[in-house]
Subunit: 216 residues, 2 copies
Amino acid sequence: MHSQAEENYLKAIYSLQNNPRQEVSTTAMADKMQTNASSVTEMFRKLAGKDLVHYRKYRGVQLTRQGKTMAISMVRKHRLWETFLVEKLNFSWEEVHDIAEQLEHIQSEVLTDRLEHFLGYPKYDPHGDPIPSSKGELLKVKGKRLTELKIEEEGVLINVKDSSEEFLKYLNKKNLGLGDRIKVIAIEPFDKSIKIDNNTQEHVISEQIAKNLYLK
Amino acid sequence: MHSQAEENYLKAIYSLQNNPRQEVSTTAMADKMQTNASSVTEMFRKLAGKDLVHYRKYRGVQLTRQGKTMAISMVRKHRLWETFLVEKLNFSWEEVHDIAEQLEHIQSEVLTDRLEHFLGYPKYDPHGDPIPSSKGELLKVKGKRLTELKIEEEGVLINVKDSSEEFLKYLNKKNLGLGDRIKVIAIEPFDKSIKIDNNTQEHVISEQIAKNLYLK
DNA sequence: CTTAATTTTTAGACAAGCCAAAATAAATAT
DNA sequence: ATATTTATTTTGGCTTGTCTAAAAATTAAG
């Protein structure tokens, strides 16, 4: 059995690993987990002892096969619960992250699978992130960043890469949601801010924001 | 904020307290929590420090107003989740206890209230136990024990006082479930075992079992 | 009413996670 | 290539919750 702390570390390592070869550093983890570097070192050791990560002193960790399986299982549970909260309990997309963060630790394979069935085997969560299957298979979201579009190009918003309450509340305020057709009207060369047309409204959004929006 | 351990202790104290005046002893708790008496003493102290129980050395604890509120909130969450698991995810009544034991620790008032709404404000959980309202109000189940019935008397099974997997599997095997009309055919004076008619079948059940069945 | 048995508390230890400060290794700049 | 900065690990300590064994208080028995 694994503790919640271990599960959280695995999920964080997974999200920081851009490719499976890349080693995740102690400081990057400490930053992500809002904790102390020395705590991270200890946990790295512990996870290595359980064969959930490969750990090289002063180099960092990568997930083992086993560790990756666990991490993906956490992601799966998180996204299924988020979907449940939005689809069934009428939460809005900015409210669900913290609650799902707790629910993802519930230990029951059966529960997860039944939940998935109950939800009708959803492919994506409320933020457009793909939901891993019970076998750990994970679709790639093949959208492109809003920042990659040129003037007059358009697309449909299919994924937001930041699930924080602040970011999503910002999008709500601008009336931006998944499925919206967005057209680039103008790009300000100085700060790369983008003027977009959301069918009904026009908004100027910063590059910072635009980077987190994925379109198809 | 309160830890899961604290929440578990409060719930256990609540379930051991037959009336609010009764003090719950260290050993009774240790027995219930499957833990050591010395651990219980320490937790009693801690809970007393947070004003969740009144604690008198060598005498035991009773819940304070605040402690009772928390305990009932745990019961509420537990029973709502059990209802969810059975009604929505098609679990059977003997499978839900352990999972609900985990789910009851999810911290979110809103979640609990939305879940209750989603379930249609159920009055009873899958074992016939009443579900406290968001204000902490709790209906009394006014059934009588099967052991109180005389020969030829009958009633409808409305509540089982043991939610353990073993007990419920036993009932499944005998085809006994909530809502069943049960008639007492005979009572064996020697061991107080009861022969019942379940409309279609006849069974002999021990006094031990019968004590946990409540009829209306 | 005094002794024996039982219950409860205290004392000392341990594991899991965390932190701050000190020591060491690695990376960067001169 | 060496000195300085930065990253990482080590050390020692703290908290929560647990345990065992010993001491103290309460209850039960004679």
